[in-house]
Symmetry: C2
Subunit: 321 residues, 2 copies
């Protein structure tokens, strides 16, 4: 489908001029108007896109399912997805789920109804058998390890390995009372991390203490909340894995204000390598989120064969361990 | 248009079940399947939404034009827009412009082609005469003061008054060498703020020094860049207005590391009242962005009459002045 930019380029005018011609605006010379109108005819630029969609079965729209818009992890994924979409002349339909399954199914229904050409599910809630029902309508790509599923593509990091690497690093530094803070308790990535944590404790013969695991942490403010909980704990952890640098930044700032020495009394490893981690010198496990976003978009565009792409994690050592 | 949730509710089953019925999935009892199929027929649930759109002229999609996805100001606006959209059962089409005018015109073309029902332009680039061409295709709402334009709706804060208030506050605290840091140099809001700054200097008979004005600041890292520029300045400002708390946080953190005493040697007023400003105790001019986002969505949905809504600013005094 030709875009307004194709017309502008071919006619040798600005997009503003094309827009003015399309809208019978007075600020255009007769000569330019004629050239533009000719190109519009040549390129068969249509008036109602829904008619085009019906005949061609393509919308140039890709759906993106995310739980929240205002959350750094998803903002960075979106940044990558949006960059790739802009470059490929696609628009994105944002489906914010607040982790409600019905919203995710509505996104899948959009695929079925050909309102979108493909769907990226950054964080999945619906069961795999439901997802599988919809793949016949268009490509689906998920942001988790789905290499065992043939019907979708996926872009992911190995959260098991990542958690193990971070836990090992803390253990080597002398920590044995290690806790962790995470977003939602359920979900594929959270369950993988819980498994890694349990395996690590078993391997090192460390005691499991449920009070050292903190759920539902997404924002800066949640970091302050965790520090308040730490203050009330008799048996405090000496180190925390924090699965979002944003939350880690909240913990570091709030803990220092409450008199904790970091890293001496409380060591912190964040995740993602967000800008705030760099600014506050937080040791973090880098997840290449912008790159993952770009890859998610690339895979949703490749129709036909599904593929699975693992992205590499990298421990970035700064001052909080 | 009935949604999958309407069907689930009416049939007394879960959306998962409705989805399974729609996709002929085996995990559904015959009884449930029959009930769901009956409701689907009753509600006239259609198979191809583009056909529905063609006949009804409605898509349940609203376009949102933003320059960047990963930027706190727009993330907070988006949070408000997305909340309102979710509640009203609309989806959002994200049009990221990177401040390129052709992308904004493409968004306007989507309105013309009935790919979307309405358009929210959070930060405008195209000229008003271009915008005016498209209002006959659907409602357009902008995130700037457009109360003098009858053809669009707008939700805005008075950036002139806000800048004046912040400058006055600094002046009362004894500052006379005040600079400011802003995003793009052009654009309605930026130009309003530049006018307020010039008027303020004239009013107080203060000297204008272009080196105290910093453009193109959007992210945390830009704060560190500004501090490096400050270090090289002979005639340093004693106070800065920083039109984004994110950038302000970068300045505060980096300036402290470089040995600046805040607020004694450098006073900072941020803007927005983002979470990071609260965390770092930054004095800020609150812009109710989430509320503005909700209002932007409400106004794009009200077809017919245009209206203009001013939101209130509020100075929040913390520790950086």
């Amino acid at each position: 489908m030709p875009t307004i930019r194709d017309i502008a380029k071919k006619a040798g005018v600005s997009v503003t001029t094309v827009s003015r011609v399309l809208n019978n605006h007075p600020y255009v010379s007769k000569e330019k108007r004629l050239v533009v109108e000719e190109v519009i005819e040549q390129l068969n630029y249509q008036q109602n896109i829904n008619a085009v969609n019906l005949s061609k079965g393509s919308t140039q729209l890709i759906g993106v399912v995310i739980p929240f818009t205002n959350h750094s992890y998803f903002a960075l994924l979106m940044e990558g997805i949006a960059k790739a979409a802009v470059a490929a002349n696609y628009k994105l339909v944002l489906i914010q789920t607040n982790y409600e399954k019905e919203r995710e199914i509505e996104a899948l229904e959009m695929l079925r109804y050909k309102q979108i050409d493909g769907l990226i599910i950054c964080s999945r809630i619906a069961e795999w058998d439901i997802i599988e029902c919809y793949v016949k309508y268009g490509p689906i790509v998920v942001g988790e390890d789905a290499s065992s599923k043939k019907f979708v593509s996926s872009v992911y990091v190995d959260h098991y390995k990542g958690f193990m690497q971070a836990l090992d690093f803390l253990y080597e530094k002398g920590h044995s009372k290690i806790g962790y803070c995470i977003g939602r308790q359920r979900g594929a990535n959270s369950e993988t991390r819980a498994r890694a944590y349990a395996d690590f404790l078993a391997l090192k013969e460390l005691e499991k203490d449920d009070r050292l695991v903190f759920f539902d942490n997404f924002q800066l403010e949640d970091g302050a909340k965790i520090v308040n909980q730490l203050l009330r704990l008799k048996n405090k952890p000496t180190a925390l894995l924090v699965t979002s640098d944003t939350v880690a930044a909240g913990i570091v700032t709030s803990a220092r204000e409450k008199g904790f020495q970091i890293p001496e009394e409380l060591a912190i490893i964040g995740f993602d390598n967000q800008a705030i981690a760099k600014m506050l010198h937080i040791t973090t496990l880098e997840i290449p989120l912008v790159e993952m976003g770009k890859k998610l978009f690339e895979l949703v565009k490749v129709n036909g064969e599904n593929s699975h792409k693992e992205m590499k994690l990298k421990l970035i050592i700064r001052n909080t361990v």
